[in-house]
Amino acid sequence: MASSATTAGKNGSVTAGHPGEGQRIDADSLMKLKSLELRARAVVEGFLAGLHRSPFHGFSAEFSEYRQYTPGDDPRYLDWKLFARSDRYYIKRFEEETNLACWLLLDLSRSMGFGTLGYTKADYARTAAATLAYFLTRQRDAIGLITFDEVIGEALPARFRPSHLHRVILALESAVSGNATEIAGPLEQIANTVTQRGLVVLLSDLLTPLDGLELNLGMLRARGHEVIVMRVLDPREVDFQFDDSSMFRDLETGREFYIDPAAARESYQSRFNEHAAKLTAICDGHGIDLLTLTTDSPLDEMLFDFLSSRARSTAMGRPATRPNPGGRA
């Protein structure tokens, strides 16, 4: 993982170094903050404070080209000064004209209720979603939120308004955990309903069979969405470091059986890695960035990775694809 990177905002004008270790807020301390908004602000402000100072041109500041006016063009963008000089109508064009619409898809299925660090994966994912929302709002991007388990729960359209962030955070706070994860259905629904092209960030543990996931992700991509999959995992789900033999109960199905962790660890990891590899292959195949977050990793890392991913995709003129082995990002 790169210790520093040049990351581009929507205008590709932000240059930032990776925040120093001392400035990081570790996930455990962060999760002790009760307010989701405070958590998001803490991560984002801390993150920004750690960035290298760099010129930030902001919205519509970057000139791209002139184009001759044709009837039907918005007269607001006429360059009157040029008209005065040349007596011809030119339309001033900028690098990006529209704000980014970012859709946060938050999985709140039961399996997300698992956590061994005093907080659950759902808590972590909420915080991550709130952080992204806060960050993107700061960047004047529109954000939308869809929570789901096997059906869609909360659904807020992508908007940019200061009050909308509060609505999003409120919705994140009040969202309740659902039942089983049925990721394919919600994804399909989103692909069908969200017509505005934008960035789709999927926050889920993806501990489901992957049949159907590929099709739906492909459908999203086909609609022109940029897709980032943030896979939220508990460290124990990765390393399966349990000591005691116990009756393990599946949070989603309620199924229960006896497992000796020492005996089962190797087989678990093998299957887990196989699943992760398959997931990576799916994402790679569709040019989707897969970021795996363990709940003990600081959220600013997540933000950093997010921005890196965005930068790559912007730089390449298409959504970045980034191989990810399924382990920590």
Partner: protein
């Protein structure tokens, strides 16, 4: 070692529980929630060698505690001497009392009874003794108790079976009390009766008509049990026919009355009665309805000469459906009256005497007064109310001495002399007789135990105070042993007294019954009193209403001549010799014809009416009379009981269970100590992180 309650020893199997719990304990109690088990497979529980070694002592202790407890509850003991065997145990003495009364003739009942006896015989044990008796109105011992030395039970049983083959139900009534008492007496007839268990098995239809009153005064012996094996059903349609004897004033009616009783358990109520004969039955019949549990009186046409029985049809029970009827000729009774009054003189005695003896169906009384008829003709009763001439006195004395009966009514003092002469002194008219004029007297002292007044002994009838006497003779009697004063006047003078003379008897009335002497003739006591006197004097007639089976029929007064032959209903002729004119062989219902060579008469014998009461008798009623109802244990059961008793005694003496409980407590204490030590060592081990995993596995190994 032996166990008193071996079944508790099964609980020793609980020793496997600690081991099972140990295995179960391997499945941890703690639960771990996990996001998804899609990458996991269940780990099969395994018992590691290490954990077994860790807890083997604890398991052993717990197993031993359970074993000790199981053993303690099983009450172990050590048998000090050998087991009892069959020879040490008493056998049974079984008296089978088989009912052979008429009611056992009911369809299929007899077969059931024989099968029941067979069952008893089949279940006998070699040490048992068996006797067979049959009973109806008496007990008949067919095979007595007691076995000769070396006699096998099989021989006895075959003897019983052989006797049983000849037994058939008779026509007699059931006397259950006689049967039970007689059966019990049989135990006393064998010497070794004490050692054996006494059992009476009554095989009977247990009908309600069986007598049981005799048991009331009987002290039932201890340890003698009766088992009642009832045969036959409880529900059947049974109707009973009884002839209703006409009242005296109905003697001339044409119809014959019968009463039909329908049993409460009957399910039918329509019956038919008709006259029947030996050869043919009457065409005419009477159909009628009698509700179950009630009775009805019917009128049938008068008996035709060819008919001798009433036949009932419509019920299930056949044996009591024929009721035999005879009409014996009335008995001629002769009374000779010696007195001065005329028959139509209402102030005299004869007037009332004649009216007192009205003709009846079974008796015709002829009263003569002519003296000449007295000679050579002995009347049944002599009534004398006048002083006798010497000649007459001599005749009277002779007749009384030869067994005649005479009633003297003392109408005058002279008659007292006549009586005195007749009996040879000891009676004199007392002083002042007649001088004080008429005295108003009543009967002051009456001997109700005397046969003359016995019918009046009931308090309802014993009031004679409203009968007054005015002209009673004052008599003084030298009270010899042979003079019996039956009643005295209230002043102590004898009112009625009797004196035996030769074979006959003299009854003396101190006062006449004519209205001028007393109110006796006008009293309602008069006719019964004279009837009593006449009954005493007249020959006993054959009963019109017939006899019941088994009853003895006295023919003494019926027949004359020495040789009497009786033809039974089955045609058999029985001859009674001189001096024996009581016929006892009435064991069949039907008409018995009696012939003494000169005249022929007949009497009817019927089944006892009680025999038709077929409702089952309540066993609890018999128990109230003290009958010990129960079944003696068989030899094998007794052996088992005695062994068990002996074992219990041994166990009580040894009390090993107490020691076992102590051992269990000690083991429990050791187990607690050891497990406490284990827990503490686990606690110590868990405080050390390096040994955490080892401690965990150790703890899992400790069963709950």
């Amino acid at each position: 070692m032996n166990l008193l309650f071996g079944l508790f020893a099964v609980s020793a199997a609980a020793v496997v529980f600690p081991f099972v719990f140990h295995l179960i304990r391997r499945t941890p109690k703690n639960h771990q929630e996990f996001s998804s088990l899609m990458f996991l497979e269940a780990t099969p529980p395994r018992l590691t060698r290490k954990s077994r070694l860790d807890d083997i002592l604890l398991l052993l202790l717990r197993g031993l505690v359970l074993l000790a407890l199981a053993l303690a509850f099983s009450r172990p003991f050590f048998r000090t001497d050998g087991l009892l065997d069959l020879d040490d145990v008493r056998g049974r003495q079984i008296v089978i009392a088989l009912d052979t009364s008429a009611s056992m003739r009911t369809e299929s009942v007899w077969e059931s009874a024989l099968a029941e006896v067979d069952k008893v015989l089949d279940t006998l044990e070699p040490a048992d003794d068996v006797a067979l008796t049959t009973f109806d109105d008496d007990l008949t011992s067919l095979v007595p108790l007691g076995r000769t030395d070396g006699e096998e039970l099989a021989a006895k049983v075959s003897l019983v079976r052989k006797q049983l083959a000849d037994v058939e139900p008779g026509w007699f009534a059931t006397k259950l009390d006689t049967a039970l008492m007689g059966s019990v007496e049989m135990f006393g007839e064998v010497e070794d009766a004490v050692a054996s268990a006494r059992q009476v098995i009554v095989v009977s239809d247990m009908q309600d008509g069986a007598t049981r009153d005799g048991l009331q005064s009987y002290e039932w012996p201890e340890q003698t049990f009766v088992e009642f094996r009832k045969v036959g059903g409880d529900a059947f349609t049974s109707a009973t026919l009884l002839r209703v004897m006409p009242e005296q004033d109905e003697a001339e009616t044409e119809a014959t009355k019968v009463r039909v009783l329908n049993a409460a358990s009957s399910d039918r109520d329509r019956f038919t009665v008709r006259w029947g004969g030996a050869t043919s039955d009457a065409e005419e019949s009477v159909d009628f309805v009698v509700a179950p549990g009630s009775s009805r009186v019917l009128e049938l046409p008068k008996q035709a000469s060819a008919h001798d029985r009433l036949l009932l049809s419509g019920d299930d029970i056949a044996f009591d459906n024929a009721h035999f009827v005879t009409s014996p000729p009335p008995v001629q009774v002769a009374i000779h009256y010696i007195g001065s009054d005329a028959v139509d003189d209402p102030e005299g005695l004869l007037f009332y005497l004649q009216r007192a003896f009205q003709p009846r169906e079974d008796r015709i009384v002829e009263i003569t007064t002519a003296v000449e008829r007295l000679a050579g003709n002995r009347p049944n009763l002599l009534v004398v109310s006048a002083e006798l001439t010497d000649a007459a006195a001599s005749v009277v004395r002779d007749q009384i001495a030869q067994g005649g009966r005479a009633v003297f009514v003392l109408t005058s003092d002279k008659m007292v002399n006549s009586v005195a002469e007749l009996i040879g002194g000891s009676v004199v008219a007392s002083e002042g007789s007649g001088a004080e004029g008429p005295q108003d007297r009543i009967l002051g002292e009456i001997d109700f135990s005397d046969r003359l007044f016995a019918p009046f002994a009931d308090p309802r009838f014993n009031d004679f105070t409203d009968i007054r006497f005015w002209n009673a003779a004052n008599v003084e009697i030298d009270e010899q042993e042979s003079t019996q004063i039956v009643a005295r006047f209230d002043d102590g003078g004898p009112a009625i007294w009797r004196r035996a003379i030769g074979d006959g008897e003299l009854l003396v009335f101190g006062s006449g019954w004519d209205p001028s002497s007393s109110q006796l003739a006008l009293s309602n006591k008069f006719v019964p009193l004279l009837e009593t006197i006449l009954k005493d004097a007249m020959p006993a007639p054959l009963r019109t209403k017939g006899y019941i089976v088994g009853e003895r029929v006295d023919l003494t007064d019926t027949v004359q001549g020495n040789e009497v032959s009786i033809t039974r209903p089955d045609g058999e002729v029985v001859k009674l010799g001189a001096g024996n004119q009581v016929f006892a062989a009435t064991d069949l219902p039907g008409i018995y014809n009696v012939s003494d060579g000169t005249a022929t008469t007949s009497f009817a014998v019927n089944v006892a009416p009680d025999e038709s009461r077929l409702e089952p008798i309540g066993i609890e009623l018999l128990e109230q009379f003290g009958v010990a109802v129960g079944v003696q244990s068989t030899q094998a059961e007794e052996l088992e009981a005695q062994r068990s008793l002996k074992d219990r005694e041994l166990e009580q003496q040894q009390k090993i269970w107490k020691w076992l409980l102590l051992v269990a407590l000690a083991l429990l204490a050791a187990e607690m100590g050891l497990s406490g030590y284990r827990v503490r060592s686990i606690a110590r081990a868990s405080s050390s992180p390096s040994t955490a995993s080892r401690t965990t596995s150790s703890r899992q190994g400790v069963p709950a």
